[in-house]
């Protein structure tokens, strides 16, 4: 198990190198450079050339990348080319806002979604199932920014129950949390339903019933435990998606998180800040996926066994 964790952590290194290279080179290729905004009409070509040298623009991109990564591994993500602030500090100061919102929405999603999914799966084919399926389908079909705006129109402007945006006090959490929570609920409930349906067909549930296990225990102890893996995946994916793609909801609700930070950096061609944000977010993303993978092992003894022996079973033809 430990060996597996270590192996997965080691695998992070090449992934991050490749991801950062990809992002850095792409951003570097983007039209326009950092110094464009610093050039004034008074500058002589020599001045501009000096500026280019200062930002290593005369050197190949790979030189700039290596220099960047050298700093990265020394805890220095450079300074924002627009504001001059440390990228690391900006990121860290914005991170809690995003994390809080993500966690709230995940809890929201999980608490509501799993019972809904089970409810629908048990009544597969009935009107109740169709209703919940319809609800979750609409939920997954709605763009989150639109849902956010609808909630704003209703609760912030029409009945003025909650603030329209910002990041002060518990009431400002409500609308962003509902928005992301509802998306999360819809996705997770759908997944829960389909993985429960899969499990409900399994032979071992018949064994449990043949033992005289009461129906509610059949569901709770025998079925749900087996349905966990896809549900976990969805929740994990949901969490990482909110961490990474929170830009939309953060923009709608003027939420000062990393998503908005990234959007601003990219639109302003702030290469250092944008790179730092994308790379840091990718790290978070990969780590969450790793945690989800490890949770699988916790839930499913078969996967645990596979990790323990450090190997994957392959099909052997007899």
């Amino acid at each position: 198990m430990l060996r597996y964790v270590i192996r997965r952590l080691l695998w992070l290194i090449p992934v991050l190198l490749c991801v950062s290279l990809l992002i850095y080179v792409l951003m570097d290729l983007a039209p326009g450079t950092v110094i464009d905004s610093m050039i004034t009409e008074q500058m002589t070509p020599e001045d501009i050339e000096k500026l280019r040298q200062e930002y290593d623009l005369d050197k190949p991109v790979i030189y700039r990348y290596v220099k960047y990564m050298w700093g990265f591994f020394h805890g220095d993500l450079g300074k924002s080319q627009v504001t001059g602030l440390s990228v690391w500090d900006s990121f860290i100061s914005r991170f809690p806002a995003t994390l809080k919102l993500s966690l709230v929405s995940v809890v929201f999603g999980a608490v509501l979604a799993i019972p809904i999914g089970i409810f629908a799966a048990q009544r597969a084919g009935t009107i109740w199932d169709n209703l919940t399926t319809g609800f979750t389908l609409i939920g997954t079909s709605m763009p989150s920014f639109w849902l956010g705006l609808l909630l704003l129109i209703l609760f912030a402007y029409k009945i003025q129950l909650f603030p329209a945006g910002g990041y002060q006090g518990p009431s400002s959490y409500v609308l962003p949390a509902i928005t992301s929570g509802l998306m999360m609920t819809a996705i997770t409930a759908r997944q829960t339903r389909s993985s429960m349906l899969e499990v409900l067909r399994a032979d071992y549930l018949r064994t449990a019933r043949a033992k005289g296990v009461p129906e509610r225990l059949v569901i709770r102890r025998h079925a749900l435990k087996n349905a966990w893996i896809p549900i976990l995946t969805t929740i994990g994916m949901g969490l990482s998606r909110f961490l990474a793609g929170s830009a939309v909801i953060e923009t709608v609700f003027s939420w000062p998180g990393i998503g908005r930070l990234t959007v601003e950096a990219v639109s302003q061609r702030d290469v250092t800040l944008a790179c730092g944000c994308v790379i840091m977010t990718s790290i978070l993303y990969v780590i969450i996926l790793l945690i989800v993978d490890l949770l699988y092992a916790f839930v499913d003894p078969r996967i645990r066994g596979k990790y323990a022996s450090g190997s994957r079973k392959r099909k052997v033809t007899a």
């Binding site: 022996s309 190997s311 079973k313 392959r314 052997v316 033809t317 007899a318």
Partner: protein, 328 residues
């Protein structure tokens, strides 16, 4: 005696897995006489299916030679092998998985004809005519020509599989558990069909199965395999009348005969099949053997001819003797 159609020498097939090397087939040698049926029996995981697939090179053996009419097929190029493929075919166990669910009966049976240009220049009428002939030969009604496998029952699907193999006009067919997925009454239909075809087309069969009463009925010679190795090899009558290896004896006594009072005395075996991963170089059966003693740790027992035509691999049976040495 006529020259054997197949001569298999020191055939090995190892699969590398992350838990170790699976010795699926571990150094086996045998011959197959033309026009005869060689039965291979053993329990799951003994390597009988792998052996069958190596014979027609559906799986590349790890080492060893497979001579078909004195030609080592393992050395042939892809193109040369493709020519030989026409002469050797396989019928699979699972009539559900071995037919492409998206193709109709016509397409499935015509496929080998088209891909090997067996009927050069034939138009679709000629192809269809040939398909109908084949369907007739295996007992499929003409009206089934456009049906899909999932619309048919197991017996009919198995007939499609047989027709597909026959389309190549093979000389040799590997039958890999062809009846074990079928009901008793259908099983008998298919066995009879295979026998008829053998007579009519003078086919040579390798018949792989775990069902001893079927192999007894069907084969001329029988090989008993255990964990990738041959433990006993003899003509069918001889093997059933005078089984020598302790494993064969146990297997035969485990047959349940459908007659009142016929199943009283049985040789009981301890434990279950051990893993074929990196087996130690001793008798593979030793752990479960009722006759185990210290002699058995002396390496892998060689397959020796005990009486003419009857081969056994057991440290405790010596050539010339007809039973276990001092059986306890």
């Amino acid at each position: 005696m006529a020259k054997a159609l197949f001569q298999v020498r020191n055939l090995k097939k190892y699969f590398k897995t992350s838990r170790g090397v699976v010795h699926a087939v571990d150094d086996i040698s045998f011959d197959i006489e033309e026009g005869k049926t060689l039965g291979i029996v053993g329990e799951s995981g003994c390597g009988k299916s792998t052996t069958g697939r190596c014979l027609i090179r559906l799986i590349e053996p790890t080492s060893g030679q497979v001579f078909y009419r004195d030609q080592d097929i393992c050395q042939l190029s892809r193109a040369e092998m493709k020519k030989l493929r026409k002469e050797m075919q396989i019928i699979f166990q699972d009539p559900y998985a071995s037919l492409n669910p998206r193709k109709s009966v016509l397409q499935i049976i015509a496929e080998p004809l088209l891909y090997n240009k067996i009927m050069p220049g034939a138009d679709k009428f000629a192809i269809e005519k040939r398909v109908l002939e084949l369907m007739d030969k295996v007992g499929l009604a003409e009206r089934l020509i456009n049906t899909y496998p999932h619309e048919l029952d197991g017996g009919r699907r198995q007939r499609i599989g047989i027709a597909r193999a026959l389309a190549m006009e093979p000389k040799f067919i590997v039958c890999d558990e062809p009846v074990s997925a079928l009901d008793v009454s259908i099983q008998a239909q298919i066995l009879n069909l295979l026998k008829e075809l053998q007579r009519e087309l003078s086919l040579t069969y390798v018949f792989i199965t775990h069902d001893l009463s079927v192999v007894n009925h069907f084969s001329d010679d029988i090989i008993v395999m255990y964990l990738g190795q041959i433990v006993e090899k003899a003509p069918a009558d001889e093997l059933f009348e005078n089984p020598l290896h302790p494993y064969t004896q146990a297997l035969l006594s485990a047959i349940l005969v459908p007659a009142v009072g016929a199943n009283r005395d049985r040789i009981k075996l301890r434990g279950e099949l051990t893993s074929p991963i990196d087996p130690p170089p001793v008798c593979r059966f030793a752990k479960r053997c009722n006759y185990y003693n210290q002699d058995c740790a002396a390496g892998v027992p060689p397959l020796l001819e005990i009486t003419p035509g009857h081969f056994v691999a057991c440290h405790r049976i010596k050539p010339g003797s007809n039973t276990l040495v001092e059986a306890n």
